[in-house]
Symmetry: C2
């Protein structure tokens, strides 16, 4: 890796402990996994419950201070969710200093501590024995503190960023800017990231040496990979649509989404054929 | 709904507070969302961190006491994860009574409190203004206490259940049973469920009355749905595969997976054409 690649610091809560050969702390890799995930799972603690709350939300990495920043730069996570009232209220309280103190009694940085998870399955790895079955996958976790965006321009930036992450270029092709009522009823959270990690698995099935030398077994159990990816189907016009032809930007966004997702899954699969098989018990 | 439909009790931590017309507490619906999700996000608190830990894991609902139970029956969640050492250790400690006490000083039920989230995006809902954009989706959350399965037969049951949830009928077509070493190195968690909820959105785009009566806007902005679903691509034999032809059970499992996922997305889309448009600001 070039020395210019930024990495998140490894904290006790963010360090990958198992299969750590698959781990990465690269901002570029982590942010790309997050940005291409249609649903993020946002986890945080609400008072009075032993169970963390988990909300599915839509989000995107961005920089309001420097909108032209690259995916591998230091970025914030902007979140928008339908089920957001609880997290928004908690986040306001924490920002007002009503939150917990840390063990040393010092006030923590402002914001509600949240953990954000993003995962993609790129394929099934079918090997000789259930124990060695696996996925090709990309999964990322970010740890940070969430606060409600109050600055009007930053809120608008977040809304546009998130809308265009769902369908490229959609924002400017709709009725914008939001009305005053829409603006008031929408909340955007900014998560300042403190740490993050990702795990990525690509490549070949692997089995133990004994199984791989068992000719009867290898003649009986099919081994290989089944690529898996998200697909967007044919667009269906809604009941009050009056635009006859699907606009080009929508058609292109859909085709690019499908091509990119299929390519990621097939690239992981391509390594199956390129790599030499190596017994599962001879490394890691 | 028939009166025989079981529902999870609504707890303060499990009640859906926003868009609750989309909420359901039906065991059948929740379990089906969980069982068809290739990655579950499991969230829990580790000592010393303000951030919940979130691990992507594979899991399936089942009943060891009554393996023939239906999806809508009372079931446990069986989990297997590659990054499992932390959660397994915490779960062992909690089972041994080293865990927290609740506010009243009474010992809580055994097991580590975990929250499990499962989400599917079934389509993009593209409406006239960003504020009314949405997904068709199915998302479920379960709350329960996780303990490590120690009974040998139950562990084997969990391993087979989870393997066959990834590819139907795969277990008996591989080298089984697991060796003693494999058996020792694999951990299976059983989560006893205390509560759960789901949210499901299907159907039409919706917009505010003013926007829907704006002929210029409706002539300019394409509105409708783009179905989205997971797809399994063409299987690719691995480097040490010696089985010439893809076995029928694999081919069928893949085709059924694709057909089912596409059907769910298209069924949600079909409601777009069947339903009458109703302004977004006239209900809920």
């Amino acid at each position: 890796m070039p020395s210019t690649t930024l990495e998140y610091p490894t904290q006790p809560y963010s360090k990958v402990n198992r299969y750590d050969a698959r781990a990465t702390y690269s901002l570029e890799t982590i942010h790309q996994i997050v940005n291409s995930c249609p649903i993020l799972h946002v986890s945080f603690n609400a008072p009075g419950s032993p169970f963390p709350t988990v909300l599915p939300m839509i989000g995107q990495m961005g920089s309001f201070a420097r909108p032209s920043a690259d995916t591998g730069d230091v970025l914030d996570l902007y979140l928008h969710g339908y089920v957001s009232s609880r997290i928004m209220n908690l986040s306001r309280k924490e920002a007002d200093g009503e939150g917990h103190q840390d063990a040393a009694g010092a006030p923590p940085p402002p914001g509600l501590p949240v953990t954000i998870a993003a995962s993609h399955v790129d394929g099934l790895i079918l090997s000789l024995t259930p124990n060695t079955h696996d996925y090709n996958y990309r999964s990322a976790v970010l740890f940070g503190r969430a606060t409600v965006v109050t600055d009007a321009d930053e809120k608008l930036y977040g809304m546009e960023l998130i809308t265009d992450s769902v369908v490229r270029d959609r924002w400017r092709h709709t009725r914008v800017p939001p009305s005053s009522a829409e603006y008031q009823s929408t909340s955007i959270l900014r998560v300042k990231i403190e740490a993050g990690s990702a795990k990525v698995r690509t490549g070949v099935p692997r089995d133990n040496k004994d199984d791989m030398e068992d000719a009867e077994l290898r003649g009986r159990v099919w081994t290989g990979m089944i690529p898996m990816h998200l697909t967007m189907g044919e667009p269906i016009a809604g009941p009050y649509n009056k635009v006859d032809k699907l606009p080009g930007y929508l058609d292109e966004a859909r085709k690019d989404f499908n091509a990119w997702n299929e390519e990621v899954a097939l690239e992981a699969a391509a390594k199956v054929m390129a790599a030499k098989p190596k017994p599962e018990d001879e490394e890691d």
